[in-house]
């Protein structure tokens, strides 16, 4: 169950791919962190991740968690964005047999799931072939 407050806290990263970067060791954190775990530095600058990238690996989910039952089967991939950051997300608008490692993708704003018939609608990023 996603509570409205948890969903709300994650809006900057879910909607706009907002991350941050340690000014010291230049590591990017997504979701953003308050303290760099590497050097304990508290000076992190906000950045926005790239909206395009390529598929590093993927799988097709046929038996999903309950919020995603209506969407099954669907593909989930690890995407390496053009700025080097790797994120996990659904890959949609594609035929599974056409998916390949190395394929170029870009983000699109989609509904991720909804809390039943009366709960909140949760939006965020998915990937589509470029």
């Amino acid at each position: 169950m996603t509570t409205p407050s948890r969903y709300w806290r994650e809006i900057p990263q879910r909607y706009r791919l907002e991350a941050n970067k340690c000014k010291n060791c230049e590591i990017t954190f997504f979701p953003p962190r308050l303290i760099c775990p590497q050097c304990k530095n508290r000076e992190l600058e906000p950045i926005k991740l790239a909206e395009t990238g390529k598929i590093l690996t993927y799988t097709v989910i046929r038996v999903p968690p309950h919020q995603f039952v209506d969407q099954a089967p669907y593909a989930v991939g690890i995407i390496e964005l053009d700025d080097g950051v790797k994120i996990t997300a659904q890959v949609v608008d594609c035929d599974f047999e056409d998916l390949k490692i190395g394929q170029r993708v870009r983000i699109e704003f989609r509904k991720i799931f909804q809390e039943g018939e009366s709960g909140i609608l949760c939006y965020g990023y998915k990937f589509v072939p470029e």
Binding site: Y15, D93, R110, K111, I112, Y123
Partner: protein
């Protein structure tokens, strides 16, 4: 001078053909295709709705406008299929674009006219000097009742426009509205599908208001049909725009560039605005465009735009509307379409 500084459209990739729908209901597909000039329509995926399509169309508009989203002072979404009954679509859109928190946001609703309504208000606020940039989106994922004539046309799509005062793609030369209380189409609270007045949706509704608005704005601007290179009318089916165009003295060639309905369907609040995006895609500096929307209930908004030379650099900063319409299609069978549109009753 105020006008359009960025525009964009979005169309889901799923399509269903008229034959596929007609087969299920035992209807005569050729007569629908001839009578309504419809071939296929767009269908949203289960993870697409008015909000998601608005975000994508608006992002394309931002690509053409080349502005900082934080400078957008108003974000309006016009739709009759806002995903929430209570909670704005516009806040999600503004947040996704990074336009919050100094922004005025509202959702508009007026059958198929809600998109141009937002355009009217955003443009007016820019004219008044209240805001630097205003964003207006018309988007819908409308539903027709299974087997109803509307099921052949009710489609999904979005168009977004950013208005401003500098670096215009098209100058806003004139705007005008024409409105009466006419109950030709409605949906009561808690009802899933809309109802319509059948033939009543024609003469006293669509034709009367579009003709009223078109004549009104041409009179106000001192222009006549032959002064325009292009005209876009609301497209509930393929035939109505050509018929109303003929009644007003426009020619087929003026209508065709923005006429998307045969392959797109009726995208309701997105309909005439998407026609405007397709028209801007092919227009040349100096050309003049008339757009007249129609929303049941009933009324029309009309705008006259004059394309500037910036169109040549802005046009290909985002996908063209006809490319979105013609490429990357995914044809659905009725069963999957019914599942996607939640027309199948499942156990709790």
């Amino acid at each position: 001078m105020e006008g359009i500084i960025g525009y964009g459209a979005y169309i889901p990739r799923n399509r269903i053909k008229v034959e596929e729908i007609a087969k299920v209901w035992g209807a005569d597909a050729p007569s629908y295709k001839r009578g309504l000039m419809l071939e296929e329509k767009s269908v949203p995926s289960p993870d697409q709705d008015t909000i998601t399509m608005s975000v994508e169309a608006a992002k394309y508009a931002l690509k053409r406008a080349l502005i900082d989203p934080l400078e957008i002072g108003a974000v309006y979404v016009g739709s009759e299929s806002h995903p929430y009954a209570v909670k704005p679509s516009g806040t999600v859109l503004a947040e996704a674009l990074g336009a919050t928190p100094e922004v005025h946001t509202a959702d508009f609703e007026f059958a198929c006219k809600a998109g141009t309504e937002g355009m009217y208000v955003a443009l007016s606020l820019v004219k008044a000097g209240e805001i630097k940039y205003g964003l207006a989106v018309g988007a819908d994922t409308s539903q027709g009742a299974p087997g109803d004539a509307l099921e052949y046309s009710a489609a999904a799509g979005a168009a977004a426009f950013i208005f401003g005062r500098e670096n215009l793609i098209a100058k806003a030369v004139e705007s005008y509205s024409y409105m009466t209380d006419t109950p030709d189409f409605w949906r009561r609270e808690y009802q899933y599908y809309p109802q319509h007045g059948g033939r009543f949706t024609g003469d006293p509704s669509y034709f009367k208001h579009i003709i009223g608005a078109a004549k009104g704005i041409m009179n106000k601007a001192g222009m006549k049909p032959s002064d325009f290179n292009y005209v876009i009318f609301h497209q509930p089916n393929g035939k109505f725009p050509f018929r109303v165009g003929k009644m007003l003295g426009f020619e087929k060639r003026q209508i065709e560039p923005g006429w998307l309905v045969n392959k797109l369907g009726n995208t309701y609040s997105g309909s005439s605005p998407m026609g405007l995006t397709a028209t801007l895609d092919i227009s040349e500096p100096g050309e003049k465009i008339l757009i007249v929307s129609y929303g049941s209930g009933a009324g029309s908004d009309a705008f006259v735009f004059e394309v500037t030379k910036r169109i040549d650099e802005a046009r290909d900063l985002a996908p063209r509307t006809r490319d979105l319409l013609d490429n990357n299609k995914n044809y659905l069978e009725y069963g999957v379409y019914a599942k996607f549109r939640q027309k199948i009753r499942k156990a709790d």
